[in-house]
């Protein structure tokens, strides 16, 4: 299995964690540390990669593209959709840049039962 999630960064205090939940995707609270969740589901992690820096670059790129195409997007999608996308991406980027959110890839395999 390969899973990629945006999750709350480890080691945060209560106030930072609350801020991470405010800035992150809607269900970011549903994901604990990804490796632990996968281990709990009977999967043995093989490799793990921190893709937070790449997420930061992607979000910056998306925000720049949203600004570049603002007039066409507002005309085609409507102001509400445009403003929602802009706010969502900007808040996520704020959480990433503040070290509150991270994006992780974990590759795991099913644990085989010992005979």
């Amino acid at each position: 299995m390969a899973a990629v999630v945006v999750e709350v960064a480890p080691g945060l205090g209560d106030a930072e964690r609350r801020r991470a939940l405010e800035l992150g995707p809607g269900r970011v609270d549903a994901s604990g540390p990804l490796e632990e969740l996968m281990a709990g589901a009977g999967l043995a992690p093989l490799e793990s990669h921190d893709w937070t820096g790449e997420l930061r670059d992607t979000l910056r790129s998306i925000l720049a593209a949203l600004a570049r195409h603002e007039l066409q997007l507002r005309a085609g999608e409507g102001d509400e959709v445009y403003d929602h996308e802009l706010t969502k991406k900007a808040r996520l980027l704020e959480g990433v840049e503040a070290g509150l959110l991270r994006r992780t890839l974990v590759v795991a395999e099913r644990r085989t039962q010992a005979k």
Binding site: M1, V4, V5, V6, R27, H69, G76, E77, R103
Partner: protein, 137 residues
């Protein structure tokens, strides 16, 4: 997730896939993620790295959970030649996934399934690999 939260989440994601379908929205995805297909934040390059990590071959079967428009599963299936089954709830996204896969002849004996990842309609151990990228993001 309780039933009310699940319903609200499902409706929010259905809304997400009904919008951002204009040519310029597709152009933004192409400019930033490398393809008009992705949902979430997985770029083409990252999908390729996932494909290399899970190593599938023709005849293998991949389950892509919460795949939206079929991403990253359709990219992995295109690279490996594996069969692809994508699962998600929003019908708009699933129709786009099916159209994309049909146009590119991706996934071969695969399927696009409207279903809940917590209650999958498959027997155990019928997939060689599972992917799950930016679900609920």
């Amino acid at each position: 997730m309780d039933e009310a939260t699940e319903q609200a989440s499902s409706e929010a994601f259905a809304y997400k896939y009904r919008r951002l379908r204009t040519a310029v929205a597709r152009l933004v995805r192409s400019d930033t993620l490398g393809s008009p297909v992705p949902n979430g934040y997985t770029t083409v390059d990252q999908a390729d790295r996932i494909a290399r990590a899970i190593v599938l071959a023709p005849g293998d079967r991949l389950l892509d959970l919460g795949a939206g428009r079929g991403w990253p599963g359709s990219r992995i299936a295109a690279l490996s030649g594996c069969d692809l089954v994508t699962v998600d709830l929003p019908l708009t996204a699933l129709r786009e996934a099916r159209e994309h896969m049909r146009r590119r002849d991706i996934g071969r004996a695969g399927a696009v399934v409207c279903g809940d990842g917590a209650r999958l309609p498959f027997r155990d151990a019928c997939f060689q690999a599972v992917t799950h990228a930016d679900v609920l993001c």
